[in-house]
């Protein structure tokens, strides 16, 4: 990481040449679009966050279902709901009007496979998993051109598809010379997949040029590594309008008290760091923190919870009308549960995503239901 300032500036010079290579394979440079300045980020918590631990309801007797996995001293939100004690930062944002909660929320998926659940959340479909993601379809049908980036070596499904997107992660190894880079660009001229990937990598590296502080987070702190980096990339001049990052480690089948204390603390710190990194852009930012589904209302036999249905989502940012618990609450009485075991999915994740695309980038409802979320005609966007 020490050699960043030198090699990166070399790459920044190169970015122009690589952009030309990108044009040669009929793409437009990822960051060339005029930007409204509004930002939209989606953070996917992979493994199914236990929404009832993150946002414990106080109107129902949750402890009757799960006496051994109750977080102690939750932070009060309203007379009906509280936040997990490790989410102090989020609590501050909520009370300051910069964060809201959507509870009992789910994608249209009603099974309990992590992998299909995530695929459906990301592809934005109602039944069969589509081959492209809803954010990629949004890029294709945006009223004004938008650009997007994800953190990590692989493109997540939510951004996959015909529209070009960037990916970025902190460099680990020393870099190749600019000349080698240019020659490789030539060699990839007839290879659309590799050619456009390389061209975008060069541009993104330039955009991330001052990220010398990245990668200093604790080993294994995925949230701490990814979220502030995403915010810094997006906040850069001509930075992408849309960003995606993923954080794993939520599949709390056993010993969930300790697991969630750690994971939520790191997430909380990373969300606050995100706000810092966004800086002035925070005022025009909406961030959704979502997960593929919730977990069983009843604890299992190993001080944990198994795969469920309704979960919780966090919305934050200066462009969020915060301090609200949005949507409906289905209750925790036995008759209210989904299939007798899960928090019922009273709210739809797509209502959040549709609201964000509408409020931040001016997508019309008809455009959203036609291309971005086919089959979502009955879903009413929230006001967030």
């Amino acid at each position: 990481m020490t050699k960043r300032p030198f090699t990166v500036s070399r790459r920044m010079v190169l970015a122009g040449g690589a952009a030309m290579a990108a044009t040669a394979v009929s793409t437009r440079p990822a960051f060339a679009a005029p930007s409204s300045g509004n930002k939209l980020a989606v953070i996917i918590l992979r493994g199914a966050l236990d929404g009832l631990a993150a946002v414990p309801p106080s109107i129902d007797q949750l402890a009757d279902w799960r006496p051994n996995v109750m977080p102690e001293n939750p932070l009060r939100l309203t007379s009906s709901f509280a936040l997990h004690p490790a989410l102090g930062g989020l609590h501050g944002l909520y009370t300051g009007g910069e964060a809201s909660i959507v509870h009992a929320v789910a994608s249209p998926y009603r099974g309990r496979s992590h992998f299909v659940g995530q695929d459906l959340l990301e592809s934005g479909s109602t039944g069969d998993v589509l081959r492209d993601g809803w954010l990629n379809r949004a890029l294709q049908s945006a009223p004004t051109p938008l650009s997007a980036v994800s953190i990590g070596p692989a493109t997540p499904l939510v951004l996959r598809g015909p529209a070009e997107v960037g990916t970025w992660s902190p460099p680990v190894l020393p870099e190749a010379s600019g000349d080698t880079l240019a020659r490789l660009g030539d060699l990839y001229a007839d290879d659309p997949m590799l050619g456009s990937a390389l061209a975008q990598a060069v541009e993104l590296d330039a955009a991330a040029s001052d990220m010398t502080s990245m990668g200093r987070t604790a080993r294994g702190d995925e949230a701490g590594a990814a979220l502030p980096a995403l915010a810094r990339l997006m906040a850069a001049e001509n930075g992408p309008d849309i960003g995606v990052a993923s954080v794993g480690g939520w599949d709390s089948h056993a010993g969930q008290i300790g697991q969630l204390n750690n994971a939520l603390s790191r997430l909380d710190a990373a969300l606050l760091a995100m706000k810092d990194e966004f800086g002035a852009a925070w005022a025009r930012t909406q961030v959704a923190v979502v997960t593929e589904f919730g977990r069983t209302v009843k604890e299992n036999g190993t001080r944990g919870t198994d795969h469920g249905t309704g979960g919780a989502a966090f919305l934050l940012g200066g462009a969020v009308a915060g301090g609200q618990i949005l949507g409906d609450w289905p209750g925790l009485a036995e008759r209210d549960l989904f299939e007798g075991r899960d928090l019922a999915p009273a709210n739809d994740l797509r209502a959040i995503f549709m609201a964000m695309l509408g409020q931040q980038f001016g997508f019309s409802r008809s455009e959203l239901t036609r291309t971005v979320f086919p089959g979502a005609n009955g879903v009413l966007p929230l006001t967030i």
Partner: protein, 456 residues
């Protein structure tokens, strides 16, 4: 027969050509691969002094007890010291395991067999999600996967499901029959993780036609399968055992069939799952994706699925069906190498020292996002280009290729690398770019990064 078939045998079906291999495979590419199936013992790591699953599990049990005792005695220094010793012991064993495994992949002359093993190891993924699992992943691959990858699918499924590592990884050692006395006294109960993943990932597949009820009942059948440890057992520590005191009693119905009570109950469910028609389709689809294309044609899936069913899941016969699958011999290279495939195929050409440098293996794997035995979920590593060929991944590969080229000063010239590693697969453009490179290092960097070497 076209001239590229020998190169395809070595690079697409094998783990990448070693010098001389393409020439050796060219006269009879399919025969060259089928001949490897007569030498399946080549996948064994038995000549290495590596621990068994039981030894690994016994160590874990012993460590856990020592830590508990130290904690009770309350001496913080002794506790730290012990933790440190445990960590280094675990790391050491794991390191030797990775080296032995990498050396085999680098040098084997039966690399189709090794690819086959790795396919199944990924299908039945275990991953280091907690320190306890670290000393167990190597024994798992050697004992459950390598020993059964050429036998029957049924045996492979039984071996993986009842191995110490899988029982730990998917929480079965912590799943208790809810009505058992132990569960009631300790306030513990069922954990359905293993049952769900066996049905969803290892056998029928997510749309294979099972229900939540099947998962729950199967989970109950699996209760009792655990690792021998005090206080329930005092001998044979670390062995896998069926402990009736933890098992949820009773006959039950799973996948529409009645299974009677007893120690064989879970095993009977596994046999039903292995024989289920959805399992044949699920396995065939993954194999076709691995050997034909990310989105394989239905005809290829049907052929392999039929081979699976007709042979009762005989994996050597299934391997032959893969080798004899015409669709897998397409001229165009459409499979983008995963990071692990790229690293192994490079090591087979330039040697692992040049691939990783001194002690940097972990950094390389980390920057590529594919550290062995750290798959992100029980689903294992992805097998499609869309997961591996993002902009950032390409840049990381380039940074690495540049380092490899710097470390390989005169061992192999770029032109020779192309001839021996890719042979007739090399395009005129690549040959020209490499020939015109400004230096030998740049030439080899471009050869490593060429579209032909990045794919298989």
């Amino acid at each position: 027969m076209s001239t590229t078939q020998g190169a395809i045998a070595a690079t697409r079906f094998g783990l990448g050509a070693r010098p001389g291999e393409i020439a050796a495979a060219t006269s009879d590419p399919r025969g060259w691969l089928l001949d490897q199936l007569k030498r399946t013992a080549a996948v064994s790591l038995a000549q290495q002094p590596l621990p068994t699953g039981q030894e690994g599990a016994a160590k874990v049990v012993e460590y856990t007890q020592l830590v508990r005792q130290q904690r009770q005695s309350g001496d913080p220094d002794a506790q730290m010291e012990l933790q440190r010793a445990l960590r280094s012991a675990r790391r050491d064993g794991f390191g030797r395991e990775l080296i032995a495994r990498a050396a085999l992949a680098e040098r084997t002359d039966a690399s189709f067999n090794e690819r086959w093993v790795r396919f199944w190891s990924n299908h039945f993924t275990v991953a280091i999600t907690q320190p306890l699992i670290l000393p167990l992943v190597g024994p798992y691959e050697r004992e459950a996967i390598r020993q059964n990858a050429f036998g029957s699918f049924r045996d492979l499924l039984q071996a993986t499901s009842f191995h110490q590592t899988m029982l730990v990884y998917l929480d079965n050692i912590r799943s208790f029959g809810p009505s058992t006395r132990i569960a009631q006294r300790r306030g513990v109960g069922l954990n359905e993780n293993l049952a769900r993943e066996i049905l969803e990932l290892h056998t029928l597949g997510v749309d294979g036609g099972y229900t939540q009820q099947d998962v729950t009942e199967f989970a109950k059948a699996l209760t009792g399968w655990t690792i021998k440890s005090p206080p329930l057992a005092n001998s044979d520590i670390g062995a896998v055992t069926f402990e009736p005191r933890l098992h949820e009693p009773g006959a039950r119905t799973v996948l529409g069939q009645r299974v009677s009570e007893g120690a064989d109950q879970a095993s009977a469910v596994l046999d039903m799952a292995a024989a289920h028609p959805s399992t044949a389709t699920h396995i065939a689809t993954k194999l076709a994706r691995h050997f034909v294309a990310d989105m394989p044609p239905q005809s290829a899936i049907t052929t392999l699925s039929r081979a699976f069913r007709d042979t009762g899941g005989d994996l050597t016969e299934l391997a032959k069906a893969v080798i004899n699958l015409d669709a897998a011999w397409g001229e165009e290279q459409v499979k983008f190498k995963s990071p692990d495939e790229l690293l192994v195929s490079t090591a087979r050409m330039v040697g692992s020292t040049n691939v990783f440098g001194g002690g940097q293996a972990r950094d390389v794997y980390t920057s590529f996002g594919q550290v062995p035995f750290y798959a992100p979920s029980p689903q294992g590593w992805p097998d499609t280009a869309s997961e591996w060929a993002g902009p950032d991944a390409i840049m990381k590969r380039l940074e690495w290729a540049n380092l490899v080229a710097q470390r390989t000063p005169s061992d192999i010239a770029a032109g020779q690398f192309l001839d021996e590693g890719l042979g007739p697969l090399v395009s005129a453009d690549t040959r020209q770019a490499v020939a015109r490179a400004e230096s030998a290092i740049q030439g080899l960097t471009l050869a490593l990064m060429s579209p032909e070497f990045q794919r298989r």
